[in-house]
């Protein structure tokens, strides 16, 4: 009887999924594994996330751009869809590029992989600390944001971006630091 594919609910991965990434079963993505390509992906992801966050300040930008209302909707929609899909795609590529190490449970990794995974989480925790500090300063000193506001600056873009950052930071750090993965 074939063994059941174990689901790791807390990590959000399956045994088969992790093993397939670890064992080069999907050779379509081996080009992603070079450190240079991984670093390019990290830079693109960071830019995409910064662009999503900037959506919260769209009301301030559009005043400076002097767009009419129809043009404003077109520009905003195209940019928003493009950025959102790029980041979702980038997130998937990022996970593949680091063999899903950041999300894999201990029992599927060896001791070196666990060690580099844990180090990446330590750095991610530090970065998140600075990010939360920056967000606090932004809330105190920056423009007033409303959550799901209808006519004012909307904080939801910033929140989506921060959630993506929190989810992808360990993978981004692994992608940036590791020579071979």
């Amino acid at each position: 009887m074939p063994r059941r594919n174990k689901i790791y609910w807390f990590e959000g991965v399956t045994e088969k999924g992790v093993k397939s990434l670890l064992n080069d079963e999907n050779s379509k993505f081996t080009w992603l594994r070079s450190q240079r390509n991984r670093r390019v992906l990290v830079v693109l992801m960071s830019l995409g996330l910064a662009l999503i966050a900037s959506g919260s300040y769209w009301t301030s930008f559009k005043k400076q751009l002097n767009l009419d209302s129809e043009m404003e909707i077109i520009v905003f929609s195209i940019v928003a869809i493009f950025v959102l899909f790029s980041v979702v795609g980038g997130y998937s590529f990022l996970r593949i590029s680091v063999r899903g190490l950041a999300d894999a449970p201990d029992e599927l990794l060896d001791e070196r992989q666990i060690q580099i995974r844990n180090t990446s989480f330590r750095y991610a925790y530090l970065v998140m600390g600075y990010l939360v500090l920056f967000l606090m300063l932004l809330v105190i000193a920056g423009p007033r944001l409303e959550l799901l506001g209808t006519d004012g600056p909307d904080a939801s873009f910033l929140l989506i971006s921060v959630m993506f950052i929190f989810a992808s930071l360990p993978s981004m750090i692994l992608a940036w630091r590791e020579k071979d993965i």
């Binding site: 670890l22 990794l109 060896d110 001791e111 070196r112 992989q113 060690q115 071979d180 993965i181």
Partner: protein, 80 residues
Amino acid sequence: MSRQPEEPIFNRIEELRTEKGLSRQQLADAVGVHYQTVGYLERGEYNPSLSLALKIAQKLGAEVSELFSLTPFRKAKSNA
């Protein structure tokens, strides 16, 4: 107390593995690690836990002290 920078540990894993005719993948499967971890070990870029060192030594039919050392190993005599 601050942690001292890690002392290099020299090893003969690659030498003994090739002597035994094993590929990195075969050794990795035998000791339960990823094949890249074997590469890291051979290059001295990762120091194994005691249990992994013992498993590798057992698989390669050597003592841990023959496999790992704090001083560089002397080059094996060439057959020529």
